[in-house]
Structure formats: structure tokens, C-alpha cells
Assembly symmetry: C2
Homo-oligomer: 701 residues x 2
């Protein structure tokens, strides 16, 4: 049958008490007679350091020309998004990151902030913009030198040169260093010969490759004088003005994808394609006319990671756009939950909404807390990114910290996006499955966020390895040195020195916790201690388990490492969760308004307890929580969710979305109007005296 039936039929006239098992709880802060947030101030807080740019971008995408059209066939969608990119150029939205001499604003933070907001219009638009200006354009900008900027940046910025970022190969996902495409220098003609030696070395999944790309930044093994100098990037023309492949270039369409179908992803291959020596993007490695290779970075591994690190902005950007898309889904599901009366409408006496149900509070409000944490953490990431890329704090330590922070936050925010969007869609039942209510398309489009720009598990493993190296660096003994050496080997030849973690013991101010006894052991200091202590111990445990590696053969050491791979990834995740919690706490500490601070402290506490509950078994096994205190965690969460319930609408209003950003009928107030109409119908029917009596009441007579 189409529906669950869990309640007896009770005709409207016989109803006097709340139906369906839920009590009437306060719906607004006024009803709850307590603190409330300053909604506008919280919007400022969430929009963060580049709030002004975000507001500009949101204003621009109020134009329906930028909106996703549900169900649009792939070919039309691709053309629509290309058109939108041109509109973006006209609106000045494509130039923020580029140097002022090419009409840019040289403002890296604002650039990322502005692009992220496009996810509200259509994630395909955001990601295709990211391909053009964040990947293809960035490769020319960050890996090229002035001569390349002069030649190509103007055309990239104004979209007269749409381009693909040709790094990934079919046979190599995350293993960029081993990719198969070659670029062999021919001194006789001063050209590089770009070549695809086998099918697995085809470039794959590239946006702009199937249709629109006129050129590509192609990553290939640079070979000159019989020596392979590793992966470098080359500017390679792809198509003529009619859109036909140039000689030697071929490819195919990736076809329909799970989402983002406004982007023309495709495959490329090269059959001895010759490009001038000029086309090597040579900021980090140069080839002279005679074929002599030079680089200011002597270590091949370090050079490789420096080049890749210059392209970290993709991950930074995904962290932010996943956070904003998650907010949109929560806005929709929570607004609806505050209006929808599931086992009720028609009674005329009952004010219970979906959000009054214990289960509904439990499934959505902790996700709201998590999303707030992501906003605060993202702003820290973006500030670090801007510091490095503006040159203000461009040290190798800061670059490494930035990469670790991006590698930690991007996996969590993108997975959280999928989980939260899905939970939101399910919480809206059948209406959540209609494309008009946006959540299904958000899920489809963001799905690939968890595996592109670095597979999430691979990124967390990278974080785990850095933690291991930092841990090992604390010690001196021969064993730990060997451990560090091994870990570093696993971390792809890279030494993670730098600042490492935030100081785990740092003081965080405590605000607004109540004095209820069961909560005393779970206040802010304890939350921090539990979260930070877990990271420390997990890292120490993995390090201890790997210690024998130094005495093993390389194969045995690899086997030992493999047995602890999951734990290392979990340690990376724990670290990322701690960073989000710390960012949220720091954000709360900056709030002056008392009501806002109190409510956001509850929300931060909910986030902390939510994390602790997720890992409760670990805390129990490791003796960090007694069984008694552990069982208090869930009860405390229940209390926090019901305490926050009257503030939920304020908290989602604080996202600052306009109707043009939301565009979901179920969050438009239509549900409220339908219910009012139904109530009015039943009220008139009762007053008319013509309402049928119930069979049950008849039997009683």
C-alpha cells in the first residue's frame, strides 16, 4: 500500500487532544520565554570574512537565468550552463582571483567565496566555473609564468578559451604521480610531443572535454634527454573554432552522470601531438632549447607536491559549497517540519508539527549543529588559503598546513552534505522526492564531491599520516625515527614538519552551560578534552602498532600498515571533527550578544555531544567515559534538541537565503496555507451542522 496506517480513524469532530503521540511544545523563542538569536548578526557570522562578496553573488543569482531546471535533458543543460558562464563573465564574476593587470582583483578569498554561492543556483554552474577558472585557469596562473599569463589569461577570464583540466586518467584516479601520458621533448623542433601510450592513459572525467574545451592543461611525464622528470603541466590546444578536434587529438563523451549533467565531462587522448616548448607551464621546472632541464626545487617529490599544492583551491572551494548546499537542504526540511502537521490536520485543535516529534528533532537538529560548525571551520580554511595565496603568509609551513586542513575538512563537509541532504529529503517524505523541492538534485549533484578533488578516504589517510609524522617528531629514539621514516615513505616522500595540529590543550572559553548535574561532566572543557584526547590516543595507538615496521621487510611493513589503514583514516577523521568543533567554539567566543551566544552555545554543545555519541564505544573501551556518563550523553542530546526546537526557524533563517535561492514549494508557506484551508473547511462543516457523525460515536449510543 502507498502509506503506513498507524492510527485509528477519528473523525474531526471527536478530537480534543493531541494526536499521534506528540505534545505541543514551544515553537518560537517568544513561547519558550527565553533568549533568542539576533538573526541578522548570525547571518553575518555565517557568511564570514568575505560576506560582502557572498551577498553580491547571491544577488546576481536571483536572476532565473542562473537557475537549474529540473529534468532538463543533458544536451540542453550543457548549453544552458555554458551560457550561464558567459553571463557570469559579463557580471564580472570570473576575474576575482586573477592578477589586476589582466582585469582581475587579485583577491583569492573573495574569489572562492563568490564561486561557492553559485551552488545555490545550479551546482553544475558552480563546478563548470570551477573547471574553467579554478582548475584550467589556475593551472595556467599558478603553474605558468608571465609569458603564459599574457598569452592565455585574458582569453581564459573572458571565456574565449574554454578549457579542460586534464590530470586524471582512466587507469589512475588518485595516483597522479604514476600517470601514463608522456611529453617528450624534441630539441630538433623545440616541441614537446604529447602522447597517450595505452587506453588506461586516456584522460578521463574532464569537464569541458566532451564539447566546449578549446584547450587543456595536460599533466604528463616530462621526458627530455632520455630522463623522466616526472609530472608537469602543458597547455595543449584541443579544438578549432568549429569545435573539431585538432590533428592527433581524440576523445569521447563520458555521457550521463549521477549528477552535474550541465557539465560536458569527457575523455581525451593524444597521438604524438606536438606543442611548442613555450607551452610547458614552467614556473617550477624549465626546459631549455637544447633540452636541458632545470628547476629551483631539486627534489622530484617535493617539486611534484609543490605543483599539486598550487591547485589546492578546488578542495577549499568544495568544502564551502558543500556547506552551503547542506544549509539549503536544512532550510527546506526544517521550515517544512515546522509547518507540517502529519497526524493532525483537520482537527482544528492541534498545533503539533513534525518538528515536535522526538525522532524528528533527533534526526535533523544535530545535523543543523554540524552544519553551523562547518561554516565556522570553512571560514578559517578560507582565511588560511587567502593568506598563503595572497603571499602574506606564503611559507612552506603554511602551505602544508593549508593542505592538511583542506584534506581534513573537505571529506567531512562533503560526506555530511550527502548524509544531511538525504536525511532532509527523507524527513519530507514523498514531497522530498519531487525534484521541485530541490533536495534530490542537490544530492545527485554533490554525490561526486566525495570522490573528486581527492577521494575522501585518501585525503583522510593523508591527514592521518601527517598526524603520525607529527607524533613521531615528538620523540627521539631510534624506533620512532624509523617509524617516522616509514610513515613518511607512506606519505609519498613528503616530510610533514610545519606547525602541525593546533595546540590540543588550548583554552576555550566556556559559555552558558547549565548546571544540571548530568551535564556537568559534558561541558565545554570536557567536550574538548574528549575530542582532543581521542585524536591523541588514536594516533599514539596507530604509531605503536606500526612501530615494528622498522624491523620488517618492506613488504611486511606494508602489510602491517595495511592492517591499520582503517584506524589511520579514523584518526584523520577524528582530527577533522576536532577542528570543526574548535572553529565553532572560537566563533561562539567572538559573539557579544548574550541571547545569540547562549543559543549558539547550546548548538555547539549539541555538535560536541553528537560527535561524542558517534564514537561512544571508543570512549567506553578506552576508559574515557564511564558507562553512567556515557548513557548521559544521549539524554543530554535529547534535552538539547528539545531546548533548541523553538530556535530552529531563527537558526535556518540566519542562513540568509532569499526565496530565489530556496525555490522549493514545500518551504514556501504553501503547506501552511493548505492546512489553514483544511481547518477552515472542517470548522465550517461543524458549524453548518451537516458534518457526518462517526460510526464509533454511533455505536456508543
Amino acid at each position: 500500500m502507498a502509506d503506513a496506517a498507524v492510527r485509528p480513524h477519528r473523525p474531526a469532530t471527536s478530537r480534543r487532544t493531541p494526536a499521534g503521540g506528540a505534545p505541543r511544545a514551544p515553537h518560537t523563542p517568544e513561547e519558550a520565554s527565553e533568549a533568542r538569536i539576533d538573526v541578522a548578526a548570525v547571518t553575518d557570522l555565517l557568511l564570514g570574512t568575505w560576506g560582502e562578496t557572498r551577498r553580491e553573488a547571491r544577488e546576481m543569482i536571483k536572476d532565473p537565468a542562473f537557475w537549474q531546471v529540473a529534468g532538463m535533458p543533458m544536451d540542453q543543460h550543457r548549453e544552458r550552463v555554458l551560457t550561464q558562464l558567459h553571463l557570469l563573465v559579463e557580471a564580472g564574476g570570473s576575474r576575482r582571483a586573477f592578477p589586476t593587470e589582466y582585469g582581475g582583483l587579485d583577491n583569492n578569498g573573495a574569489n572562492i567565496a563568490g564561486f561557492q554561492e553559485l551552488v545555490l543556483a545550479d551546482p553544475s554552474l558552480q563546478i563548470k566555473s570551477g573547471v574553467q577558472w579554478g582548475l584550467f585557469g589556475s593551472a595556467v596562473h599558478q603553474l605558468g609564468t608571465k609569458k603564459h599569463h599574457d598569452a592565455w589569461l585574458p582569453g581564459i577570464i573572458d571565456l574565449s578559451i574554454p578549457g579542460a583540466f586534464a590530470m586524471t586518467e582512466t587507469g589512475h584516479g588518485s595516483d597522479v604521480a604514476a600517470l601514463g601520458t608522456t611529453a617528450t621533448y624534441d630539441p630538433a623542433t623545440e616541441e614537446f610531443v604529447i602522447h597517450t601510450p595505452f587506453r588506461g592513459a586516456w584522460k578521463d572525467y574532464l569537464g569541458n572535454a566532451a564539447l566546449h574545451g578549446k584547450a587543456a592543461t595536460v599533466f604528463a611525464q616530462l621526458i627530455t634527454g632520455g630522463v623522466d622528470y616526472g609530472v608537469h603541466c602543458f597547455f595543449v590546444p584541443l579544438r578549432d573554432d568549429e569545435g573539431n578536434f585538432l590533428p592527433g587529438v581524440g576523445g569521447e563523451d563520458d555521457g550521463v552522470k549521477g549528477g552535474l549533467n550541465g557539465i560536458d565531462n569527457g575523455r581525451l587522448h593524444f597521438d604524438q601531438v606536438r606543442v611548442p616548448r613555450f607551452n610547458l607551464l614552467d614556473r617550477y621546472g624549465q626546459v631549455a632549447a637544447d633540452g636541458t632541464y632545470t628547476s629551483e626545487i631539486a627534489s622530484p617529490g617535493r617539486r611534484f607536491f609543490t605543483m599539486l599544492g598550487a591547485l589546492v583551491q578546488g578542495r577549499v572551494s568544495l568544502d564551502g559549497s558543500a556547506t552551503t548546499a547542506t544549509a539549503l537542504a536544512l532550510y527546506i526540511s526544517l521550515t517544512y517540519a515546522g509547518q507540517r502537521r502529519q497526524f493532525d490536520s483537520g482537527a482544528g485543535t492541534d498545533e503539533v508539527t513534525l518538528l515536535d516529534y522526538g525522532k524528528h528533532q533527533r534526526r535533523l537538529i544535530p545535523l543543523l549543529a554540524q552544519n553551523y560548525a562547518q561554516f565556522f571551520a570553512h571560514d578559517e580554511l578560507l582565511k588560511k588559503f587567502d593568506g598563503v595565496f595572497s603571499g602574506r603568509t606564503d611559507t612552506s609551513e603554511e602551505r602544508e598546513d593549508l593542505e592538511t586542513l583542506a584534506a581534513a575538512l573537505k571529506p567531512l563537509s562533503t560526506w555530511n552534505a550527502l548524509n544531511t541532504i538525504q536525511e532532509s529529503r527523507e524527513a519530507c517524505g514523498g514531497s522530498g522526492f519531487l525534484a521541485e523541492n530541490r533536495m534530490v538534485d542537490l544530492h545527485h549533484d554533490l554525490d561526486v564531491f566525495v570522490t573528486f578533488e581527492g577521494d575522501n578516504n585518501v585525503l583522510l589517510q593523508l591527514v592521518g599520516k601527517r598526524l603520525l609524522a607529527d607524533y613521531a617528531a615528538q620523540f627521539k629514539g631510534a624506533d620512532t625515527a624509523a617509524l617516522a621514516k616509514f610513515a613518511v615513505g607512506q606519505t609519498a616522500g613528503r616530510v610533514f614538519h610545519g606547525a602541525g595540529l593546533r595546540q590540543l590543550g588550548q583554552a576555550v572559553a566556556d559559555f552558558g552551560s547549565t548546571a544540571r548535574s548530568v551535564e556537568l561532566g559534558l561541558r565545554v572543557e570536557q567536550q574538548h578534552e574528549l575530542l582532543a584526547g581521542r585524536v591523541q590516543q588514536m594516533v599514539a595507538d596507530v604509531a605503536g602498532a606500526l612501530r615494528p615496521a622498522s624491523k620488517l621487510s618492506r613488504a611486511e611493513a606494508a602489510a602491517l600498515f595495511n592492517r591499520h589503514q582503517s584506524e589511520l583514516i579514523e584518526a584523520g577523521r577524528a582530527h577533522a571533527e576536532l577542528l570543526q568543533w574548535e572553529a565553532f567554539s572560537d566563533g561562539v567566543a567572538r559573539i557579544d550578544d548574550e541571547g545569540t551566544r547562549r543559543v549558539l552555545t547550546w548548538l555547539r554543545d549539541l555538535f560536541g555531544l553528537h560527535l561524542i555519541e558517534k564514537h561512544l564505544a571508543w570512549y567506553l573501551i578506552n576508559g574515557r567515559l564511564s558507562a553512567q556518563r556515557a548513557s548521559a550523553v544521549s539524554r543530554y542530546i535529547d534535552r538539547l534538541t528539545s531546548r533548541l526546537r523553538p530556535h530552529v526557524q531563527d537558526l535556518v533563517d540566519a542562513y540568509g537565503f532569499a526565496p530565489e535561492h530556496v525555490r522549493a514549494p514545500i518551504a514556501s508557506g504553501a503547506e501552511q496555507r493548505r492546512q489553514d484551508e483544511a481547518r477552515e473547511h472542517y470548522r465550517r462543516l461543524r458549524e453548518s451542522g451537516e458534518a457526518p457523525v462517526s460510526e464509533k460515536s454511533l455505536k456508543k449510543k
Copy 2:
């Protein structure tokens, strides 16, 4: 950047040891020198009681005419699926459930089994068939009487009367009893007047409503003589032969959905539409010409649930098709994982595949165990369904047990489907996001399974309430009687007597557990004790918490209940998990072949431990596991997954899918061929003496 880089560049020629941290593990049972399963026998086991029908259906859908075409625009997809339904009629696939006198086979179990397999062709085809023959057709069959069968079943079976099942309303999802549509009897004309009194009472989300439906089974409040007799079902013509709405009927298209876009879901409304008295489907309630209402079921609540219960097959069917779709995703991701060499290809010396990584084993193999459990549990559900609907075991106790079992299993298998399909798609990286590899469309199409045919949370709550009632029935005292009364009130007026749970203490044979000391406490009896004990205690805890309800006002009692809603749902989930585990264990106990039994016992153990690990905090808090034993759970799982790794291909081959069912290039062997080609390329290059040397080796000189 597009990819994570986590390894230094090591040119092919310098590689001698496993790369990327994974050791070479046995890939096949031969290599592992141990038991292996009899693949064909396991296929028989998984296909279950109606295996022959399943094989027939799978044979039929080898015809490409039945296959989903990725990215097909909605309008074309809808027409294609309608055409497929006609093909299904021609192949005799639509009649299995119906009486022999209308050309049917009167075989309920085979009918469900056959329909479920259609999910491999296109889930839209499966669900649209379900709408036509499982919902619309079943309503006429199960709620109507001979005169209705004579009038409409032939046209329903041969699809000359495509129909909609008009139960759900926009304003009422799970609350069927309170729906707003009315059917008022007019004795003057001997007609029912079907009417939609307000917008919230529009029928919504109905398959076949937007375009193809010529009639509908409409659920409405039956009013005669000024008395409302509650929800009954009426056969209402919708459209003429040209597809135009009949007078008084209106509606709109639900438009694009998150999946299943081959089905024309839509909305319907009725403005005083008159149908003959004949059109009341009157098996459970009749209206005489003068308007007198009669029913053999005196209680309105019981009558309502009897009518809904007659339509349980939707849930039974979803449990099975979700299980089969999950199997398909696992076949694809695990076959690929056994071929793909991520940080390797080109080396020519390295045999490590994705599936050798600890994390990869951990993320997928427990899901394989879970899917096997679902197959066994589904066959039990289907046998119970067939027993009841064939009349062999048609008692009210068996009907109630059937409904509870369906309410328990459907939520787990549909949620597991989404989780497993998503994990599978992520485990395949970018290639998993291409529609050609099937997993994204499976996720889209199955998404709504978790909220339709009974929202999963609502269903689990229903199970929890039944457990509570069973629990209360064990006692006599006044308090528990009051508790039972309250629980029953919450369970919508229905007394859950019947057989209740399986006997929790039943003996389950123990096979093949090894004698390792840490595993001794986690063998089959302990698994059962832990899983069953958890259900018992959770139910007792909720019952205890609700005990004061009898002394409270109705509103206060509702508030108390609401505070424990999540726990009650969790108790329902725990019960369902136990049922799956028991079914798996019973299935293993029936296996004669020793190798098969041993491997499937490992898999069953993995499933049991996977469940226990999920709820580890509960076991610790409640003193059911010591910290020491709890920490052994994860290590045991790690050992089981690596022990099962060589058997994975056998286990997915045992699903019995043909290439025409899989249709995913990445599971076709193409990956293996690409790698062989790459290896051959590097081998020749080395032998030619023209391979470039690495920069690193150069520096060493």
C-alpha cells in the same frame, strides 16, 4: 586539483615491492588453499523458494527492450516503460497473482518473486508494474468481490485498463485514516459522490495518474445516512479513450522526481464525481440500495486495518527488490575491486588490487554479508506472505505476523540498499559516478523506497509498538495492563496478539567457528544472545519508561511517549536485525556441502559481528560486553574480512547475474584488459632499452 596524490613518483622500472602500502593477499580460494563455496548451489539458495520464477523473469529481461536507458528524458522514459508493461503482458508476466478463472496462476509467492527481478532491468518498470498489478489490481482483487473481478480484472491483467492507486493525499502521508476525500452515498440515484473538499485532500504521488491511468482505486471516507464509516475503496474512471479527464476529474503532473522517472506520478482531484453503487469495492463493507451500511467486521478500526493489510504485498515486494538491487551494486563494485590496481598499474610486478586494502575490505565485505542475510530473510517473508494469501495459513494471527515482519524487514533492506549502493559507487571513484556503471541510477531509483509503502521510521515504530504489546502481555498486574492499553492506543486501536517474536531462545546450530581465544566469546550462540538480549532489554526499558503513562493525562502520556519515540524505533530496528541474522543462520544450517557451509558461516559471523559493532556502545553501557571483549569485536571483523577476501568473487558470482543484468563496463573485465595492455606497454618499453630513466636514479649516480 582533480586527484589526491599520496605517493612519490616511482618510475615503473624501479619498482620491486608492493606499492601503496598493501600486501599481496590470496585472491582466490585456490590461492588460500581452503574451502570454497559451490557457486551454483549458493545461487539456488539465494534465489530461494521461487527460484524457477526468478530465473524465468531474468531470462525475459535479457531482452534489451526492457533495459533502462541512462539519461533518457522523462517523457520518452514514461512511454518506454508503458511499452515494456505491454511486453510483460505478452510474456505472461502480469497474471501470476490473479485467479485462474481470469487467466491467472493464483500463485502469490511466484508473482512477487517474478516482479522483483524486474529491478535489474529498470526499477521504473518494476514499480510501474507494481502500481498496475500490485496496488491498483490488488485493490480490485483483494478489496472487491466477484462482480468487480468479472468487470475489471481481465482489463487490468491485459493492461487495457491502466490504473492508479489513489490513497495518499498531499496533506496526509502516513495518516491514511484521516484522509479528506469523501464518498457520499446518494440513495436517490444509487451513486457515490466522490469529492475533494480542499487542496490538501488532492491525491498525490500516484503512479499512472499523470498520463496513463484510465481508472483509479480511490480511498475515501464512506458517508451514508449522515454517518462516516471511515476509509473505503472505490473504483473511479478517470479518463476517456483519448486520454482526457472525465467530467469532474482533474489533476496535475508531479513532474520530475529524484528517480523512477519512467513512471508518470501525478495528482488527482474530484469535484462531485458520481460513480454507481456497484463501484464500492465491498468485500469488507457493503452499502445497500437504500444506503444501509453492513460489514462483517464490527470494529471500525479493525475493519480499516484489515483492508490495509490486504495490500501488504507492496512492502513484501520492496524488501525483495531492494535486496536484489543491492546485490547488483555489490557485484559491480566488488568485481571491479578485484581487478583495479590503484597505486600500481604499469609496474608489471605487483598484484595488489583495491580489494587487498584493509579499508576497502572493511567498507564493502560487511555489506556483502548483510545482503546475504537479506536474501535469507526475504525468502522467509515471502513464504509467510504466500501462506497467508494462498489461504493455506490465512489466520488473523498469521496476517498480523506477516504485517509485522514486512514492517520490520522493508525498512532495513531499503535503507541498506541506499547505503550499500552509495558505498559501492564511492568505492569505484569517478567511474562509479558515470551512469553507464549503473550505481547512480540504482540509488536515484531506490531512494523513494525508504519513504513510500510506509515511511521506514513509521514502520519501525509500528514494530516497536508490537514488541511493547507482546511484552506487556507477559504480565498481569494493573500497571502493565494499563501500559498495554496505552501502547495499544498508540498502535492505532489494534491488538497485537498473535505469535509475536520468534522464540528468542531457540537453538541455532553452530558451524565452523574457529577456536581462536578472542573469538570464543563471539561465536554463534553469543551472537544470538547479544542480538536477542538487546531486543528484550530495549523493549523492557521502553516499557519501564512508559509505565507512568497510565497515571498521566492523555496529553502528558503523549509527551512521555514522544520522549521515548527514538528508543522505540531503535527497538524495532534491533528486532528486525535479529530476524535477519536468524534467517541467515537458519539458511546456513540447511547447507550440506562443507566448504559452502564453512564460508557462509564466516559470512554469517561477519554479519553478526557487524551488527554488534554498530551497537557496541549499547552493549558496553548495559554491561553486556566487557571493554576487552568489545575491543575484540573490531579485530575479529578485520580477520573475517581478510579471511573472506579470496571468496568474494565466488560470493558475488553466486548472485547468478548474467552480463545482460549487469551491463556495467567496469564490471565487464574491461579494467583488467586495460591493465594488461598497460603492463605490456611498459614491458616492451623496458625490453626495447628506450625507456627513460628516472630523475631520481640519475641523481643517485
